[in-house]
Symmetry: C2
Subunit: 81 residues, 2 copies
């Protein structure tokens, strides 16, 4: 099973990387661009076949390693691989 | 309109960052983990309301700035914001 984890900065947390992307896009001539925010996408191949168990495992991985839950949120999706 | 861009390394391109995450997860005691790959998630607020036009714009942004199409693939999703 393939787990896709999206890690994004919480609302209200400054995102200088996103701001740099926004400025670069404006500099390239793209108009009508509002806020840009950059996050991480982590794809994990799991041997586990039980989705509920896999969800608990991946949540634990996020809390322990993948996301800094003080400033970041995470969402988890599963796809058959 | 909110565009969500996923930028991932193409298959076959080495992903040392993903490998480091995999090793760290194993070190934390998580078992049954196969390949881990890390990509980017970029959320862009657009003033454009026509979805077809927005898609063309965001594709151009990806090709010009957001993705290195030699080694990366990108996918674009839209959500009402």
């Amino acid at each position: 099973m393939l787990a896709k984890v999206h890690v994004t900065l919480k609302n209200g947390v400054l995102d200088p990387q996103g701001k740099a992307v926004r400025n670069a896009l404006s500099g390239l001539g793209f108009a009508g661009i509002g806020e840009v925010r950059q996050g991480k996408l982590i794809e994990i191949e799991l041997a586990e076949t039980d989705r509920a168990k896999a969800k608990r495992d991946v949540e634990a991985m996020c809390r322990k390693l993948l996301a800094n839950t003080v400033i970041e949120d995470f969402t988890i999706e599963f796809a058959e691989s």
